[in-house]
């Protein structure tokens, strides 16, 4: 039975700290670069080219960024679909991070679109091209952002005192939540399917063909759990709150089970496609592959003993490693393992990096503002069942 004793409450406190000011500055720098980009073209700030038409604004901001924002999805799956009510205190903070992660991932696409004023074509019959994986990803991510804002709106409605609207919404919440589980399952898997059409331009270590959706979906859920542990640890240290180890420990057990399944799927796919040999070729790609695999396998070993899952530091280290692993899988697939012909090179420019950094800074800043002003985190006493 779900536990509802943890009434969320605004955290309060000062919004202006050296840290928030730094975040604000980084956001402004990114903003200035983007203004420049809209007047002088993508090439004026980014190092993308015809051999690497997708840079970090796609590979990191959208593909990795949205996967990092899967905390809300993973927790909704656990709490509402697998009916594990004990994890309920984690849902709201996770959902908030997802809300920002996704909204910014979605918004950042606009910066990368050359002909951004036509973006509505994706949703317009006559233009929309349903065979395109990009179409499916774009529509699903947009729909999910809307769904998440609705899912999260009770928090704002509470603050604004709109009880009626909130009650009506509550009656439909189960359907919104179902959509909120379906949509990320669709687009997180499709983010992997984006690579299918690149064919042999993708290194065999990452061109898993029809297995790509499963690989990306499994890691998205894994990343969701990892991000929840990561954020819970950071907000407990950052805001001097008790760490919710009681919930994080059993959560990590589920995570380890899924992780073991993922590692098996990943390796079996490589073996069956006969691609595993290329991992021993001594190339940059092979090195990056082992780095990626290590980031998945080390947490698996680290968290295998039950006692280790009670250690806050081991949980945190494992969560960070999994996030690195999930990021590498995506960066490797979209950039390192992409080769469209000889003579093309890509490394992000400083301006390109600063936009990505600014986006992350803005996300953290917005998260801090919201949890200080709105009822998101469980009230400060230790959570008891």
């Amino acid at each position: 039975m779900a536990n509802h004793t943890h009434a969320p409450a605004p955290l309060g406190g000062n919004l202006f700290t050296p840290f928030t000011l730094l975040l604000g500055m980084l956001s402004v720098i990114a903003g200035v670069i983007l203004v420049y980009r809209f007047f002088y073209g993508l090439g004026a700030v980014a190092n993308i080219n015809d051999g690497f038409p997708f840079g970090i604004w796609i590979a990191y901001d959208v593909v990795v960024g949205s996967a990092f924002a899967c905390g809300g999805y993973a927790m909704a799956l656990l709490v509402y679909i697998f009916n594990r009510g004990e994890y309920h205190p984690l849902v709201r903070p996770a959902l908030l991070a997802s809300l920002f992660g996704y909204t910014l991932a979605g918004a950042s696409v606009i910066f990368d679109l050359g002909r951004w004023w036509n973006v509505w074509h994706i949703f317009w019959p006559g233009y929309a091209q349903v065979n395109s994986v990009m179409f499916e990803v774009a529509v699903c991510i947009t729909a999910y952002i809307v769904v998440m804002w609705i899912e999260f709106s009770p928090v704002f409605l509470e603050k604004l005192g709109m009880k009626d609207v909130k009650q009506k919404l509550n009656k439909l919440l189960f359907f919104i939540i179902a959509l909120g589980v379906l949509l990320p399952s669709m687009h997180q898997s499709s983010l992997g399917s984006l690579l299918v059409i690149f064919g042999q331009q993708i290194h065999p270590l990452w061109q898993s063909g029809a297995m790509l959706p499963l690989i990306y979906l499994m890691t998205a859920i894994l990343l969701g759990f990892a991000v929840v542990i990561f954020e819970a640890t950071l907000s407990s240290t950052g805001f001097g709150r008790p760490l919710e180890t009681k919930v994080l420990t059993p959560l990590s057990k589920i995570m380890v089970g899924l992780l073991a399944a993922y590692v098996a799927v990943r390796i079996l796919d490589l073996v069956f496609r006969g691609a595993f040999g290329t991992a021993f070729s001594g190339t940059l790609e092979a090195g990056m592959f082992w780095l990626e695999m290590a980031a998945f396998v080390v947490p698996l070993v680290l968290l295998a003993p039950a006692a280790a899952r009670r250690s806050a530091s081991k949980l945190f280290v494992s969560a960070v490693m999994l996030m690195v692993g999930g990021m590498l899988l995506r960066i490797n697939g979209f950039l390192v393992g992409y080769e469209t012909g000889a003579g093309w090179h890509y490394f992000p420019s400083l301006a390109e990096l600063m936009v990505t950094v600014g986006l992350i800074a803005f996300e953290i800043l917005a998260y801090i503002v919201i949890i200080r002003k709105f009822p998101v985190l469980p009230a400060a006493q230790p959570v008891t069942r």
């Binding site: 039975m1 779900a2 509802h4 809209f38 073209g41 993508l42 090439g43 993308i48 080219n49 015809d50 051999g51 038409p53 997708f54 509402y80 679909i81 697998f82 009916n83 009510g85 990368d112 050359g114 002909r115 951004w116 036509n118 074509h121 994706i122 006559g126 233009y127 929309a128 091209q129 065979n131 395109s132 994986v133 990009m134 179409f135 009770p154 509470e158 009650q167 509550n170 009656k171 919440l173 189960f174 359907f175 179902a178 959509l179 379906l182 399952s185 669709m186 898997s189 499709s190 399917s193 299918v196 059409i197 690149f198 064919g199 042999q200 029809a210 959706p213 469209t340 012909g341 000889a342």
Partner: protein
């Protein structure tokens, strides 16, 4: 109660997923077929003398700006296709450069422009139908008014053909569209029209394929007639000595180009018509004396990437059957598990 719910939930979810998986094989699609009237180019590397008249003609016909690769910017010197260049001739060089069309100590010329794939990745990738394949001619065209500039087509093309103008605030994709805008005036691809040796021929793919096979059957050094410009079935007939060839062409209002065929000796062709099988077929076909991989053309499997990508998408999302089934199961489960938040009382379902 909880456990029972959990099992029910798992069962419903499993059933929904199975429905999705079951719809899989029914929706699988193979490579697309070439339209019977498809037009394209035949590029014969052995006939190409590297004069680059086609590069200049392409620029003029398509209103593209010059591009410079030398310090003195006297004339157009593109090294590759780009946002400003739709067609280039590249050189293969090896060792002493003694023999044309020889892989060892030789050189060769190769054309780089859109292959007009039978099952193009760019068309499958484009989320907004800006890339279209004409159902009759098979020409792969681009509509900048539809384009959102996402560059998924650029990334998807195995030949690296669609290019993007990164230096523009209002950018667009550029790619060869076989001079489709000139067709209404009875003209055809400018590159083929100007090619002095007939290294680039324009025509129906079926006709071009036959011409290519004719050349592959020749013995090196054998004397033969080589056509130029627009290769038509009737012209081919005339080449073989049929008397009605010229008259038929006049009746159809075609520009008389029959006199432009010329005698030459056959080169040493590799027994490989590039584009016949590669990637599900392309409407630009190529002949060469040097292996195509050396000329920058990838060794591609006979299945198009679009076929696999679309099969996958259709099996997961075809008719929205699987998503709706999964949504139904999820809604059913969530209905039981979600209790209105923060409502005092009434939660003991």
């Amino acid at each position: 109660m909880d456990r029972r719910n959990f099992f029910k939930a798992s069962l419903a979810g499993g059933a929904a997923l199975a429905t999705g998986a079951a719809s899989c094989p029914a929706q699988a699609r193979s490579n697309k077929d070439m339209p019977p009237e498809a037009v394209g180019l035949l590029f014969d590397s052995i006939l190409c003398v590297g004069c680059k008249a086609c590069v200049a003609a392409c620029k003029e016909a398509n209103g593209m700006p010059p591009e410079f690769s030398t310090q003195e910017q006297y004339w157009d010197t593109p090294l590759d296709i780009s946002g400003k260049t739709l067609n280039v001739i590249k050189a293969y060089r090896h060792g002493s450069l003694a023999t044309k069309d020889s892989e060892e100590n030789g050189y060769a010329f190769v054309k780089k422009s859109c292959m007009h794939c039978v099952d193009p990745s760019c068309v499958s990738a484009c989320p907004v139908s800006a890339m279209q394949k004409d159902p009759k001619t098979g020409i792969v065209s681009y509509d900048k008014e539809a384009c959102i500039g996402c560059r998924y087509c650029v990334a998807a093309c195995p030949f690296g053909v669609p290019r993007f103008t990164y230096d523009k605030a209002i950018p667009q994709i550029s790619k060869c569209q076989l001079c489709v805008h000139r067709h209404k005036d009875g003209k055809y691809a400018a590159c083929a029209e100007v090619c002095p040796t007939g290294a680039t021929l324009y025509g129906k793919v079926s006709v071009l394929r036959e011409e290519a096979k004719r050349r592959l059957a020749m013995k090196p050094g054998e004397k033969a007639e080589f056509p130029r410009g627009h290769l038509r079935a009737a012209q081919e007939k005339q080449l073989q000595g049929a008397p009605e060839g010229k008259g038929e062409m006049r009746r159809k209002g075609w520009k008389d180009e029959s006199g432009q065929a010329y005698p030459n000796v056959a080169g040493k062709y590799l027994d490989h018509l590039y584009g016949e099988k590669e990637f599900g077929g392309t409407q630009m076909l190529m002949l060469s004396g040097v292996p195509f991989e050396k000329l920058g053309y990838p060794d591609l499997p006979p299945q198009s990437d679009a076929a696999l990508s679309e099969t996958l998408q259709h099996s997961l999302y075809g008719g929205l059957i699987a998503p709706i089934a999964v949504l139904g199961a999820l809604t059913f489960i969530a209905r039981r598990n979600v209790r209105p938040e923060d409502e005092e009382g009434g939660q003991n379902g």
